[in-house]
């Protein structure tokens, strides 16, 4: 029994040691992709955590108000403050992952970073050719439900060729072409047709 335990822990240690080294072993493109994709998720998680904190506080003050432990005036003041903060965070969340096509943005960012690093044109061409395959691979690699959900939605509804922007009919906020809802006023903008860039219009023609 204890022998099995020792073997189990030894295997665990070796696998984890390999995982520790893995980010430094892959090619430079893989490493860049790693950084950029994770960064999006990191932002989403961060904002979600903070949003949940305010929602918890909102629940707490409601209970305190019901139990006469918070005066109506204090309750309203705190409620306004927490709601304001929550809405602000929700808007930021929408900005990050409420729209679609963020994977395409990641690809653009990688390209930009590689150009900046003075990579050869060959490398760029090679990367462009491999892009669809890699996106798929990355999607498989992602282990979380949230990440999967985000990625799947992005791939299904926002193919990389959809670019340009749309304007919210309600508040005129400029949004990404693939957005479903306005990140400012929350209006449904799924039906709004994106304004395609001239290059794409001519290509389509």
């Amino acid at each position: 029994m204890t022998i099995a335990l020792i073997i189990l822990f030894v295997c665990f240690t070796l696998v984890m040691a390999w995982q520790t080294l893995s980010p430094f072993i892959g090619g430079s493109q893989e490493q860049l992709r790693f950084d950029l994709l994770e960064d999006e998720l990191r932002q989403v998680e961060e904002l979600t955590t903070r949003k949940n904190l305010y929602l918890d506080n909102l629940r707490e003050i409601e209970i305190d108000r019901d139990l006469d432990k918070l005066s109506e005036k204090d309750f309203l003041e705190l409620k306004r403050r927490y709601e304001r903060e929550t809405v602000k965070l929700m808007r930021q969340l929408d900005e990050v992952h409420g729209g679609r096509g963020w994977e395409a943005r990641v690809e653009d960012a990688i390209e930009a970073r590689l150009s900046l690093d003075g990579k050869k044109t060959e490398a760029l061409e090679d990367k462009t050719a491999k892009t669809p395959k890699k996106t798929k691979k990355k999607k498989k690699k992602s282990s979380t439900g949230k990440k999967q959900a985000t990625t799947t939605r992005a791939t299904e509804s926002a193919p990389a060729e959809i670019t340009g922007s749309i304007q919210c009919p309600e508040c005129d906020k400029e949004m990404e072409a693939a957005a479903k809802f306005c990140s400012q006023c929350g209006a449904d903008i799924a039906h709004v047709t994106p304004e395609l860039p001239e290059a794409q219009i001519s290509a389509a023609e």
Binding site: D35, E45, E46, L53
Partner: protein
Amino acid sequence: MIDNQDLGTFALYYALVVCLIGTAISIVAGRTGSQRFVHASRFASYTGAGAIFVAGAVLMHALLTHDFSIQYVASFSDHTMPLFYLIGSFWGGQAGSLLFWTSVVAASMVSCVYIYRRSYQDFMPWVSAVCLAVLSGLLMILVFGSNPFEGFSIINDPTTGKGLNPLLQTPKMVMHPPSLLAGLATMTIPYAFAMAALITGNMSNAWVKAARKWILIPWLFLSIGNMLGGMWAYEELGWGGYWAWDPVENAAFFPWLMTSALIHSIMIQERRGMLKRWNIGLMIASFVLTIFGTYITRSGLIQSVHTFAQSEIGDYFLALLLTVLAVSVTLFLWRWKDLKSDQRLDSPASRESAFIFNNWLLVVMTLVVLFGTMWPKIKEGLFGQEVAIGPPWFNRWMVPLGILLLLLMGIGTIIPWRRTTMAAFKRQFIIPIIATAGASPVILGAYWYGRGAALGVTPTPTEASYAIITVVCCIFAVTTMIADVGRAMNARMRKHEESAFEALSRLFIKQRRRYGGYVVHLGIVCAFVAFAGNALKIEQDISLDPGDTYQIGDYTLTYEGLTLENEPDKDIIIGKMRAERNGKHVHDLRPGKAVFHSAPNMPTSEIDIKTSPIEDLYVALVNHDPRTQAAAFKIFVAPFTWWFWLGGTILLLGTLICMWPTRDSLETLRPSPGVFVRATAFGALAILCVTPLAVLTYESHTSWGSAARFERMIGQEEIEGTNEPLQGKERAPGKTEQNASGANAEAS
């Protein structure tokens, strides 16, 4: 073939190297935000922990397979020990307990890093860095100061071990040290969050939110450890009580008090953005005190019943303590200005103020205990005078402070946030005050005339007034809780059209932190009832010849003589006693002493305790004369002691309710456990919490709690027939206490 020594030592060295590299990677990850380094730091934590687990598994394997080529195995186990105590010997000695501590830090770090793998990304690299740095410090002590895999040379390789100290071979003692060690070890996680907040400069409530549940874990383990230790001292050691203000007990009590203060003050930060400096300070103090407590007990600085031989390990702990202190205080001062509160206190009559007073009281209590523990040593060092500070000194300070705390517990439950208007005061306080005023005389009178007066004890005016005030404050605290829960239930019943039962259960499910906290408070109230009962406690040390009777309270005890029972591994001397009350036979008492063949100089006590919610009748056989059959006993009647254990049990259950993860938190575990698994896990843990009290009560009403179980197993054999062996095992008076010290030392 790799042997245990080599594999264990290699695992420790490997873990040390990984932890040091992991600390460096985590610092880079924290500074640059590079996700590659964040990923690497996370997996370096897993790798380091894995290597530590390998070392732990190897030591366990060596103990279970009796590998006596390892010094530690030979010193703390032998062939005859059952599996349960072999597992217990893992933490029965110094090196093993340190490896256990390190393993718990590693396990909690792994859990934390895994659970927060996608959140608190600005904190997590620093949390890993701090945990890995602490682990590196502990591993250095293990590798260079106290290696559990140290072997014998070929010449003196033993064929058998010395075995675990007989006093430690009780189930409670097997569980007490790991609980305390787990409490001390898990304090690393919330401390790491506080440090991460200081390093990143993120002074929002994020670290409090992240560390909130992790603060409850050390508090829970320290509570369990202190409770089991008290129970063991009460039932096995023959102290005559559950708390003796022993320095080692105090060392586990400092962090408990500090963490209790912190649990309350973080609520103020969460809600009002106040007490930011205070909270960080408390967190640092709690962690520093865990290392300080370990240092004073392991270095031999303080003389205690838990005696430890002076060893090199004390110097290592001092170095760790000074490093932690220097780093923490520097970071704290660096961020001092940023830690300014968002808001100010609106009124002294507010919930915030009640919590602040509560914090002051808990901190003052910590300082009192710290002073009482350290002053004899300081005075000896400064003036060369030896002084002793005993329980009366501690009680003089701690009793009034405790009563004030109890009063604040009641007030804090119902006082409104920000300010209390006269109308709010009337709404919240009038009913509890009236209920307390009505119920207190009834309850006190009912006890005094129903039972208390019959004990024939006249407490001093101070003791009596403290006891009465304590009971009144207990009633007040309970009524405030009932009033608050009642109001919350009404609100739910109105709002959601629920039945009373539904409303109550939903309250505990939806607001488990708030109402779990009330359950914890209820446990504390029960413990205070036990403290109040001490005013009427009767304690006697007596010597009796067979046939003698002795009156204690309204009990008449008749001593009937000694018997000797022989078991394969020990001899048991049993004192036979009969207890009557008002001429009616109530108990047969069988206190005894067990003399293990492996340790004939270390007899252990088999104390007979008849416990009930009203009072305990406690009889310990202290000494005996096999020739005349005269025996010395420690006897006492202690009202309400049972309530202390009940309080402890309720406290554990309440903490469990507070800590129980929400559905959202469980989602992070992937796959999230289903309702059935969650309910089963909660039920199992709840049963575990209730077990000590259930066992105590069962033992009290059956032969299992006293030496009578040996009588029943082997059969009666009168002392006359076995006079010879009994004489051979006669012990000098006072030997018991002396030997108990050594045993307790190893256990801790």
